[in-house]
């Protein structure tokens, strides 16, 4: 078909521009030998900007978010995470909205590098803009967005230039509830509950014990808060300021930030060595 000049074009393929698709890109490519960096078009009319300079790849993340939890319930699906992004071990950005709305039926959240997530969001915005411009009332379903992101993550891994994220995609469409995740090297799965990041160790055992697909929204929310609390108490890069987003057939809603009740005043916390002689 006609290559429209956006980076998600079905011919161009997600995150990759083959030779011959876009003459402008090819010209830039020739000039600079190889794409130094890939910048999404933001509607500027070019699939990527190819910039000169030393070739750099992501070797390690800088600003990172931690745990995202997700679970299905009777009427839909919810995901939760805190609003913190750390610079190394510094709690650097404390009011980051880490859950994004993709379209009217899909939300997405991330662990890992914040800037890579911004890039991913810009790709998804292009997709959504295309849907809007087509004006035929059709939008990508959550599972289509998940599948697309799997291709993006895997393609970048193939270039040894990974997007340093684990993504959680959730949504409801055509009567189907979807919850899926994809990691930085493209590994992905769907499940009725899942956790990206450290929550994989802390929260999933709680989910496995208590979660059912037909639980009510209140129960699901309570379980979610329990899981967040469990993560918060063990993960130093987590903060007591959370958001929960839910998607139902009726639409989606991202909550205002809130706190979960915490208690660090347990008797055994006061003098830890007293009850564990020789432990440390």
């Amino acid at each position: 078909m006609i290559p429209t000049r956006v980076s998600h074009n079905p011919i161009i393929g997600p995150g990759v521009v083959p030779f011959g698709v876009d003459p402008a890109y090819d010209a830039q490519y020739k000039l600079n030998q190889a794409p130094r960096s890939h910048v999404a078009s933001h509607g500027q009319g070019k699939p990527f900007t190819v910039e000169p300079g030393p070739h750099q790849r992501t070797q390690y993340p800088y600003v990172t978010g931690t745990t995202v939890l997700g679970c299905k319930y009777k009427d839909g699906v919810m995901i939760a995470c805190d609003t913190l992004c750390c610079y190394g071990s510094t709690k650097r950005y404390k009011s980051v909205e880490r859950i994004k709305k993709v379209n009217s039926s899909t939300i997405i959240s991330f662990t890992g590098e914040l800037s890579d997530f911004h890039y991913i969001v810009s790709l998804l915005e292009e997709l959504d803009t295309t849907d809007y411009c087509e004006d035929d009332g059709s939008e990508l379903a959550p599972w289509e967005i998940h599948s697309y992101l799997c291709r993006v993550m895997y393609n970048r891994r193939n270039k040894f230039d990974p997007l340093w994220n684990s993504l959680v995609v959730a949504g409801v469409k055509h009567g189907r509830t979807f919850l899926g995740t994809v990691g930085m090297i493209g590994q992905h799965y769907e499940d009725s509950h899942l956790a990206a990041g450290f929550g994989n160790h802390m929260a999933r055992p709680l989910f496995r014990e208590k979660h059912t697909d037909d639980m009510s929204e209140e129960d699901a929310r309570k379980l979610m808060e329990d899981c967040l609390r469990a993560c918060l108490m063990r993960d130093k890069t987590m903060m007591n300021k959370f958001q929960i987003a839910k998607v139902t057939a009726g639409g989606l809603e991202i909550s205002e930030p809130f706190q979960v009740p915490m208690n660090w005043g347990y008797e055994k916390f006061k003098d830890p060595t007293k009850h564990a002689v020789g432990a440390w």
Binding site: M1, I2, S147
Partner: protein, 251 residues
Amino acid sequence: MADNFLSKVRHELRYASRTFLLGVRKGVFTKSNVDAMEAVKQGGATVGCKSKEYVVLATLKRAASELSSSQQKIFRADDGIGVAISGLTADGTAAIRALRQDCTSHSFTFQSQVEVCRLAGRIADKWQVVCSQRSGSRPSGVGLLIAGRDMRGCHLYQVCPSGNLYDHVAAAIGARSQASKTYLEKFQVQMDNFSLQDLILLALRALKEATSEPLTKETCTVAVVGVEIPFRVLNEDELSSPLAKLTTDTQ
């Protein structure tokens, strides 16, 4: 820069004037949309109609000579999408290849079937821009009926060589298709609730209008797709019962 631009304009003008001379009716290699539309009208008739749950395509098969087999006119593009062509078959197969490629690459990236309206829209855009606006390429001399199902139900689209795209409940293209259209118009309202068998029969009756010869297994092809059933071309056994009903009509 300005010089280049002017020379380009001049070139286009020159080309346009030449085309004018070349644009002979019934001529195949022409630059004019009108002639391409004319090519569609010369192909054997193709009929499509849909109910809430099914779409049916029916075409007349014509052999070029007694000694040759007839050419295929209905093609599967994806599990839930099929295309019938009328006009230049060679142009048709090129279009089918593009459609199939589009379906395959969409399902590779999105793990789902492409929406029928998007698929039809993309080939229409291509024909409008690439095939009728640019020098060095000519319009595609073929009309398409695209039948398909997706998450939003059943669809029937018609694509013209000019790049026009129509969403139909029932459509007919090709030689003497006006008679089929007139027949189909009578059922515009009832069609929505037709069963699959009724719909096949309706398509055949409409097709019958476009030909003076009797419809047999050898002279027509029928394909179906529905919300619950994938796209497929009916085999000869399945055709025999509706064709038998068709003959009782005429008696």
